[in-house]
């Protein structure tokens, strides 16, 4: 077998055999997601409906009054600008527009963050436009911020596990192997250092993707969280791993003993865990802090990943974030390359 492939497979085998680390990398994030998800689950079933219509239009007024009487609907009426803006802010599940000129062509704006609320709302609304009036519904989707907390949380937790596994997992394993002298024995073989490092990192990337896959599946089954844009999501997981695996190598280069790994790793990971917008949005932070915190790799990664869950943003809307993350990848790769040596030079 090729040395590179062998290193990847062997590392993977060892990763799956390490029960303690499996607990921390898989079980813990999963529990965290399930617990927080359940605790914060909202029982609110009312559908927030925005209506855009001409108040002089008595026909429309009748319909709106009738809709307002429905318990499940929470109706507000305003201008198109304000209502669609409210939808973007996730304050509406559905907005309908009843034009004066063409009263039989109703435009429906759906909130993709709340697909089920939108769909139910649309079904209810359609009841008010029953034949004989032949009404055409034009459905449009407007992108919005994540609606539910769980949609915010899941990408955060996936990003967090990428970070934890990348920094802690890598540094613990490598510094331990170095300290025990296993690495020295490996270096005594004709293997090239890059083969060892890349083989190792590839195994960790595979583990990380498996882990993300599990979290995504459970989030979908239990909380109805929908990830879209799979190739985009996959690229983000890879890019995130490049950043955090590099930071893991960086910490491995700095730490001389296994005991110093958690200290150094936490110095990097803890502020990100706390402030990086994993568990709560950074909106409530003071502006100056927000400015910094929003650019942390974890915050950028989580945000980009959120854009694949509920938002329908195209690349053009997130390219700044993407550039920042790529910038981080460059910086962390440079750090890893400058501080990490498989073999101490003397």
């Amino acid at each position: 077998m090729k040395p590179f492939l062998s290193i990847t497979l062997t590392t993977l085998k060892m990763l799956f055999r390490n029960n303690q680390s499996l607990f921390f990398t898989w079980f813990l994030p999963l529990c965290l997601m399930l617990i927080i998800g359940y605790v914060t689950r909202s029982n609110d079933v009312s559908i927030r409906l925005g209506v855009v219509y001409d108040h002089a239009n008595t026909n429309a007024q009748t319909i709106v009054d009738a809709m307002s009487a429905v318990d499940a609907l929470e109706v507000t009426a305003d201008t198109k600008e304000l209502e669609t803006a409210a939808l973007q802010d996730n304050k509406r599940d559905l907005v309908i527009e009843i034009p004066n000129a063409t009263p039989n062509e109703i435009t429906v704006y759906e909130n993709p963050s709340n697909p089920s609320q939108s769909a139910i709302g649309k079904m209810i609304v359609q009841q008010f436009f029953q034949p004989p009036a032949t009404v055409t519904f034009i459905t449009e989707t407007i992108s919005s911020k994540p609606a539910r907390y769980i949609d915010f949380l899941v990408p955060g937790i996936i990003s967090m596990t990428i970070m934890q596994l990348g920094i802690f997992g890598t540094a613990f394993a490598i510094v331990d192997a170095k300290q025990k002298g296993v690495l020295k024995r490996v270096i005594a073989t004709p293997i090239r250092p890059w083969q060892y490092v890349l083989g190792n990192m590839l195994a960790r990337l595979i583990l990380s993707m498996t882990q993300a896959g599990i979290l995504i599946t459970v989030a979908w089954l239990v909380f109805d969280v929908h990830f879209n844009h799979w190739s985009w999501l996959l690229s983000l997981i890879v890019l995130g791993n490049i950043v955090f695996l590099s930071l893991g190598l960086f910490v491995s280069g700095l730490a001389k003993t296994v005991e110093s790994v958690p200290v150094l790793a936490n110095l990097i990971a803890f502020p990100m865990l706390l402030l990086g917008g994993i568990f709560f949005p950074t909106d409530s932070l003071p502006d100056w802090l927000k400015l910094v915190v929003e650019k942390l790799p974890i915050a950028v990664l989580a945000d980009l990943m959120r854009s694949t869950v509920t938002l329908d943003k195209g690349l053009s809307e997130v390219y700044v974030q993407l550039l920042i993350l790529i910038g981080w990848a460059v910086v962390t790769l440079f750090l890893a390359n400058s501080f990490f040596r498989l073999q101490e030079r003397d």
């Binding site: 077998m1 090729k2 040395p3 062998s6 290193i7 062997t10 085998k13 060892m14 055999r17 390490n18 192997a177 025990k180 002298g181 296993v182 020295k184 024995r185 490996v186 270096i187 005594a188 073989t189 004709p190 293997i191 090239r192 073999q343 030079r345 003397d346």
Partner: protein
């Protein structure tokens, strides 16, 4: 080829310390070559430079015609390495471990066959950390064998082992030699060097101070044996130095050691001296000279301190 290994003026300098100082030696194919010296002599540093693990400050080592300095990776292909402190991945069993190391050389190895060779076949499912000291050393010799090397380096393979495990390992080393492999080993046990090695380099304070066959080394010194005995009184040792053939007399507490170049003459002299000046010695022993004495003689130090 007369020499499979040729070390020339090999030197390692750290900031303010020269760990290996212009040493040179040659090893013939199929030999067991020993480097004997106390802790800190520079044995490990020497080996690790030859193995391509440490940067060579000066000089070079050529193994099977390949310069370590110029082609460390090519050298790594033809050598087997056992490090002084060897530990292995604990999440693999012994068989997997050997096959993994084989793959690092681009080879497909039969883990069980190798384990059989070092008598660990029944332990194949164990993890390295579950082995005893002797078993772990045999495992690390098995790892050193995964690439069918021409030369094997063993760094203090028996340090810390009990006498039985040590003998077991010696037998294994001889088996490897019989299969045609050249071995270089370091040790600070003179007995080990004496019984195991075809030739020995004695190393002290970064330098090789003597190298020869064990018998050749023993001839280096005039002394042929030591006579030891216990005394209870405050015996004046100066007259003992005048005994026939005595080369040196030492006293350590109640033990008197007389080095001699001719046992019979000195013993006869000692007994005659005792008749006139009663020594009241007990526990008289005569030892053939050994490498310990050679080392003491050359350096003024004992091997183990």
């Amino acid at each position: 080829m007369e020499h499979i290994i040729s070390v020339d003026q090999l030197t390692k300098r750290y900031k303010d310390l020269t760990a290996v100082d212009h040493i040179s030696f040659q090893v013939r194919p199929g030999e067991i070559f020993g480097i004997l010296g106390p802790n800190g002599a520079g044995k490990t540093t020497t080996l690790e430079m030859m193995e391509g693990l440490k940067v060579i400050t000066e000089g070079d080592a050529v193994i099977n015609g390949i310069s370590v300095k110029q082609h460390p990776r090519q050298v790594k292909h033809i050598i087997g390495v056992q490090l002084q402190s060897s530990s292995f991945y604990d999440l693999m069993n012994l068989k997997e471990l050997l096959e993994f190391f084989g793959s690092l050389y681009g080879r497909k190895v039969d883990g069980m066959a190798l384990l059989t060779k070092v008598e660990l076949a029944d332990k194949w499912k164990s993890r390295a950390k579950e082995l005893s000291g002797g078993q772990r050393q045999r495992l690390s010799i098995a790892v050193a064998l995964v690439n069918d090397p021409l030369v094997i380096f063993l760094d203090e393979p028996t340090t810390g082992l009990d006498p039985q495990a040590r003998r077991h390992l010696w037998a294994l080393v001889r088996d490897i030699q019989k299969a045609g492999t050249t071995l270089i080993l370091t040790t600070h046990y003179m007995e080990e060097a004496e019984v195991l090695c075809d030739r020995i380099a004695i190393m002290d304070s970064a330098k090789i101070i003597a190298q020869d066959t064990p018998t050749g080394l023993l001839k280096l010194i005039e002394q042929k044996a030591t006579i030891k005995f216990q005394v209870k009184n405050h015996l004046d040792i100066a007259p003992l130095k005048q005994l026939a053939a005595a080369t040196d007399v030492n006293r350590m507490k109640d033990t008197i050691t007389i080095s001699t170049s001719h046992v019979q003459d000195t013993l006869k002299g000692l007994i005659e001296y005792d008749l006139t000046h009663p020594v009241h010695f007990t526990d008289l022993q005569v030892h053939e000279v050994n490498l310990e004495d050679v080392f003491l003689n050359l350096t003024g130090k004992t091997l183990r301190d």
